[in-house]
Structures are given as C-alpha cells and as structure tokens.
Subunit: 509 residues, 2 copies
Amino acid sequence: MTTATAPAVKESYDALIERSKEAALLGSTCSLLHWDKETYMPPGGAENRANQLALLAGIIHDKCVDPVLGERLSRCEASDLVKDGATVEAVNVRELRRMYDKETKLPKRLVEELVRTSSLSQEAWVTARKESDYGKFLPWLEKLIKLTREKADCWGYDKNPYDALLDEFEPYETCENVSKVFAGLQRELVGLIERIAGAPKRPDKTILIRSYPVERQVSLCRGAAAAVGFDFQSGRIDTVVHPFCSGIGPGDTRITTRYNERFLNESFFGTMHETGHALYDQGLPREHYGTPMGSSVSLAIHESQSRMWENFVGRSRAFWTFFLPETRKAFPEALGSVGLDAFVHAVNTVEPSYIRVEADEATYNLHIVLRFELEQALVSGKLAAKDLPEAWNKRFKELLGIAVPDDRRGCLQDVHWSFGHIGYFATYTLGNLYAAQFFAQARKDLPGLEDSFAKGDFRPLLDWLRRKIHCQGMRLRAGELVREVTDRPLGHADLIAHLKAKFEPLYGL
Amino acid sequence: MTTATAPAVKESYDALIERSKEAALLGSTCSLLHWDKETYMPPGGAENRANQLALLAGIIHDKCVDPVLGERLSRCEASDLVKDGATVEAVNVRELRRMYDKETKLPKRLVEELVRTSSLSQEAWVTARKESDYGKFLPWLEKLIKLTREKADCWGYDKNPYDALLDEFEPYETCENVSKVFAGLQRELVGLIERIAGAPKRPDKTILIRSYPVERQVSLCRGAAAAVGFDFQSGRIDTVVHPFCSGIGPGDTRITTRYNERFLNESFFGTMHETGHALYDQGLPREHYGTPMGSSVSLAIHESQSRMWENFVGRSRAFWTFFLPETRKAFPEALGSVGLDAFVHAVNTVEPSYIRVEADEATYNLHIVLRFELEQALVSGKLAAKDLPEAWNKRFKELLGIAVPDDRRGCLQDVHWSFGHIGYFATYTLGNLYAAQFFAQARKDLPGLEDSFAKGDFRPLLDWLRRKIHCQGMRLRAGELVREVTDRPLGHADLIAHLKAKFEPLYGL
C-alpha cells in the first residue's frame, strides 16, 4: 500500500474515532437497557427488551465490521501517525485494529450459532444445576466447546488455541504466562490455607449472621461508597438479584447490590466490590470517552480495582478502625458488644467451601486455578466433557481438601460456560494478583496509607489510582501497565505476602 | 408506474413492515432513555444522555427517509394490496406513506435549524418566564413562527397553512372543523361558567388542602390505578417533576406522577390521567406492534382516554361512592369527617384561574380556545408576535372574566411554543370532546355503567374501550373512529351535557 497524504490520514483517523464514539454510545444505550432490565423493568417488558437489545447489537455489529474501517485502519497504520506507539493516535489505532480483527474474523454463521446455542444452553444449565443433573447440560457443553474451538481457529493463535480464547477476555495475555504465575500462587496458597485450617485462633463468624435490618444496610452501604470516593452526582446504587456495576457513560456509573437481612457481608462487601469497579469507570479520562484511550485496560485490571477496594481496603483493620463505630451505631443490637479484633477476624474468615462466589479472599483463587486447568483440558481435548464431573471433584479435593457433595455444588455452579465464556475465569485471580501488586506499590509510594484509612481518608489511594491507572485508559496493555506502575512483571509474591501479613496474626500463626 | 407482480408487492410490503418495526424498537429505546432521564439518571449523566438520544434520532431518521421506502410504498400503492382500504395492509401503507411524506418533505437544513432554534428557545423561555419578561422570549418566538411557516409550506396545505401544522399533531384534522366545534363549545361554556360563578352552593376546597402524607398517597394512587385496570405486571409508577406516561413497548407501560404533601389532587388525578393513557397503550393490539395498526390513532384520541379516566370516571360521584371509604381510611385526619357530597363537590370545583395545567374540567377548554385562536393569528401573520401579550390578556378577560396579572401567568406559561410545537394545544380540548362523546355512547351501550363504578367494577367500561378503540390501532382516522363508535361526527353537545349534568346539581343550579 502506498502511503497516504497527511490530510487523508487525518481524515481516516477522525472517521475511525467518530465511528468508535458512535459504537460506544450505542453500547452505552445497551448498558442502560440491561441495567433497567435488572432493576425496574416490569416482567411483561422482557420480550420487547430482548428485541431492542438484539436490534442494537446488530446495528453495532454492522458499524464495527464495515470494510471501510479496515481500509481506514490500514491507511493509518501505513502512516507516520502510529510511528510513536505511545501517542493517543497510535494507541487508538492499535486497539481499534484489534477489535476490528476480532469482529471480522468470525463468520456470521458461527456468531449466530454461538448466540443460538448459548441461549439454549443457559436454559439447559438452569435446569441441570437445579436438579444437579450434569447429563442435562453435557450435550450443550460439548457443542459449546466445539464452537469455541472453531472460534479460536478463526481468530488464530501461536501454539495454543486457549490463548485465542483468553485473549477475548484478557487482551495480550497468554496461557503460558498465566500458568506460570498461577503455579507459584497455588504452591504457596495451599500451604497457607492448610496452616490456617489448623490454626489456634478461630473467628466467631456468627457475628455477621445476626439481624441486620435492610434499610440500615442500605444507608451504611451508601455511606461506605461515598466515604471511599464514589460520586453520587455521577452515579447511583440500586437493588438487584445478581449485583453488577454498569458504567453507562461519562457522569453515569451505576452500582447494584443485594441485601440479606441475616448476613451483613453480602451487601457490604458486594457494594465495596462494585464501588471499586465504579471508581475506575468514574476515573476514566472523559475527553477520550468512546475510544480505547478512554476505556479500561482489561477485565483483570478492572477486577483489580474491585478487589482492591473490597479486600485490601474494605477488609483491612485500618478501614474498620474508622468504620466500625458507625456500623455499630447502625446495628446496636447485633454489634453493640463486638470489638474491633473480633469483627476484623470475622470478616476475614478463611475456610474451604464449595461455591466460588461465596469463597473467601484466600481460597477463592484455588477455585480459579481449578477452572483454569479444566478449561484448558476441555479445549485441548485432553479432557472429554463427559468426564468433567470426575475430574472436577478429584482436583477440587486436591486443591481445597474437601469432597464435592454433588454437581450442583461442583461443576454446575457457574453460569459462565453456558454463555460460551471459556477463558474468562482466569481474569478473577489475575485481578487479585494485580490488586496485590498495585497495592504493595501504593503503600511504598504513600507512607502512612493505612493511617489515612483509619482516619476515614481514602483520597491518597484514590488519587494514586486515578493517576497511575484510571486516567491512562488503554495506553498500556495490562502487562505493561503493571511493569510501569510497579517496576516488575506480574507475579504471585505480593498477593501471598498480603495474605500472610493479614491472616497469620489473625489466626495466631 | 407498471403494476408489480404479487410476490414483488408482498416482498415490498414485508420490507416496509420490518423497517417500521425496527424504527419502533429504536423509538422504544429512546422512550426508555427519556423515562430514565426523568426518573433515575444521576445529574452527571445528562450530557451522555443527550448524545445517546441525538445519535438514535439520527439513526431513526435515516431509516425513515431512505428512498427505498418511497419505492416500496409506491409499489404497494399501485397494487391490489390496498384496494380494500379497511385491510391491515391498506391501513399500514396509508399511514406509512403519511409518515414518509412528513419526514422527507422537510429539507435537512430546516430540520436542523428547528432543532437548534428550539433548543435555544427553551433556555430563553425558562428565563423569560421566571422573570416574567416577554421581551426575552420574543425574538425566539418570532424565529420559531417563521420556521414553522416554512415547515407548513414544505408539507403543503389546501387553503390554510395552519392545517399543515395541526396535521402534525392531529392527523387529518382541519382548522375549519376544529373552529366550528370549538365555537359551539365556547358559546355554551362561557354561559355555564358564569352561572357557576354566581351559584348558590359553593364547594369547600380546603378539604383537599390538608396534610396528606406522601407514602399513603403513593399506595392510594397505586390502588386506584390497579382498581381501574392498570396491569402492574406490564407497567410501573414512578415519581417525577413533570408527570407523563411512557408506552415503552408491549408489556412495558410506565406512569409517572408527583406528590404534594398538602394537596391531594396533584398525585391522585394526575395518576388517573396517566392511567388513562396507559390503559390505551396496554390495550393496543400486540400482534401489530411497531406498525400503524398497532399504534394509537392520534394525540386527541389518546387524550380522550386520559380525560375519560381522570374526569368522567375519576371525578364522578359513582367512583367516590366506591373509593372514598378507602381514601378516608388512608387519611383519617384529613378526611375522617368529610362526607361524600362535600368531597365530590371539592374535587369538582369550577373557578376561572390563570394557569392552564391547574384549570378545572370546565374552564380548561377556554384556555385552549384562546391558544387555538392566537396560534392561527400568529401563523397567518394577522397578529405580530410582539403584540401577543396584549392580545392574550384581552381575549383571556373576555373568555374567563379575570385580568391576567403578568406574562408569567399569561402568554409565557406554556413550554409548547418554545419547542416549536404550534398546532398542539387543540388536541387537549379535542381529547375532552372525544372523551365526552365516547363516554355518552358507553353509557348507552352499557346500562348501569355508573352502578358498576360504585361497586368498584370498571371492567365493563375498560372492555368496551378495548373493543371499540384500543384494539383498533390506526385502522380508522380519528374523525372516522368517533363516527363508527358513536354514529355521529365530533360535536360539542356531549361535553356540554356532561358538564351541565355534573355541575348544575353540585352548584344548586
């Protein structure tokens, strides 16, 4: 291709950006439709909502696969515009190319078959899980694995088809790298969890399983979100069955949570988690909205923010030094006589359990290691889908030390595979690892950080995250970002150090 | 044009319908974006919301002016498909042609200038009204009238440019017909209102201006909406500053209302009004959703439904025979000792006042007559915009017998003109007239109708409306519908008869 003139390149680039912004606005509209579906839509509106979403998805898809985009990208790529890879233009072109290739490499037939199959799979999965009957999900999982392999082949990969799948959820990440980091983490984690299991000191978990009136949970959660920096002028909190955070667009970030009258953790740490996601969205550079430079880096980096505020801040002794008095005031009957030590230990209970979403900060990662291993075996064909329950149960026992009682609490517990989301789970533990490494660096950069938490001042941490991570958009890939911020590649050391520093004193180890 | 083959016609028709359904789904998405903006959107989301709405409006517009639609319409029109004007196909083609012509006859330049001007006009109007300074709105009104005239010229008309404007809001209606019906109404109404002003019996309005705790208003309004047939599985009620009803789509119709702790009417009759709109939307034929056959006839017919449930049902003695005991139970302090006669008279107070939206069932129509006359004079050029306040005040005194104290409570009170909505106001009184004529017919067709209200049974009326009006979609034009349902063209007799039958005994006339 011959190099285009500078004005022609500029025109191509501007047109790319305009299209990107249009797609973002339509995506933002879909986010609102989804949010409303989970919060306020009357039941009768479901069919119309599905039709709205399908139509918009089609319009977005058409905008994203338009061949003229490919031509514009090539024109920019062949020009001086992208010579310096660190410029706004180069980053936007790099990421728009990535997305364009992802979208265009899949044949329409495959996309449609995936949509149809995953829709039916979800129904089958709901029944299978309810009845703990793996046989009802098996044919669908087999079909989804086959289609997923086809997807990987269309996208292409170096050695491992699983890399192509991972890349959908965590761009530029490789199976080899994740395996290496997870191996180190697993080795140390299994030992730590065993030591905790035999520890002399035990928490009194029942503290959290008392009467916590919902209205007072609502105002406590709002208070906590506001205290750490959530901007209610640019967001809101609502109640749903399955909590999520939706960054509708600049100035509009919506958290959702759920309340359990007999258990404080669900709403409180759920809100802290979603607030972490929300703070990232509220901190993205507004001037680049609708382009890669105004977008979050990846699922794992997004998760690092939610886990940081949930676990590194929200489960810290420093946080509760500040927040327990207020919490006690809200629930005098439940917490009137509970001291700081007992409370902090209770919210940091470590105990192997079956269900990933209910797992504690330490054992959680072993749930992910399990799924990461099994996904690879399923995709490579080393493990047949029909043998999944056996493989799951065996490996679960090895990693967590307890025997899975049934498939409902085993390999049928997660919704992800029924969506055809294979390659997603790793991002959760990657998030924990990134969180630990970022947080360790923040503590170095900001002396007295935890003292500020104890005084209710979270601004130093939030400002640091804003500067180092949020306002960067997609300038750097996830692996580059962690290197730039912490001077090291991603590893398991900081997460292990964090868990030991927290749990050893709590458990008297 | 040569006649196309039957399969080609069928193909064209199907493509027209598909496009119509797509446009409806996108319109339905805009409705949700608007609803969310008024109910739950955080303030920071305003700019993003405006961008979403603008983009979607553009996409809808492009879909609606696509020349291929014109070709398809012509192909259908030249075929046997529309030979019998009463078929689904003929109705859909007739109305899609109407909309296509409306959309395509306006040059893009004019559309954009109207959007820009009305946006700035609204800002100017807000200030002008607040400061009661007509001079601040005058230049914008002049510009809007000029652009509106251009719009009328683009659309075309027989004798009167105002017909083209009226037709935007009330299809197929003419200035001549409205003038004739309004003249009869005005003549009789002025006399009735004068007699009421000098009547021996007076209502005790203060009954309604007492302490009405908001939470109890909320459940009372929900109870009333449910009692008359609003389906909460397919709808909801929320709180806003400026109430409206939004038919988001099949199975999803949303009412909004507002609460005044010291005045029961606002929420109660507001809810009854919006419930009337909602019952129409919930009764449209679902199988034709997204096409004219699944749409409401016109603004006036829609308003006839809201006014019927607000005034003909909600302000009737029969309704309160059923509902006052429940209302008294909700507000024992305010209403414990208030009898049925006193309450019914209080909610039927007639009294000239300055503000249209606060006017009673009788005087309201004179506010409309005033605007209808002045709009025609402004559009024809007989009245210069600079002379509007004087003309308004003079005619207001003649019609309502009271002197306008300032422009804020005079010609600056309504938002409509600042949007460029000239030709809209007539639909409100047309709605009252249609409501009266339909209701008179319903009473003939359904003996004992009011007895059923008194027992809390509104099903006979709702079923009748469903059958006669709601499920018809746009099969008939408004004027044809009233003829088919009541055997007569629209007139003023039934509205006057209704008002006399209600107010003469109440006021001891």
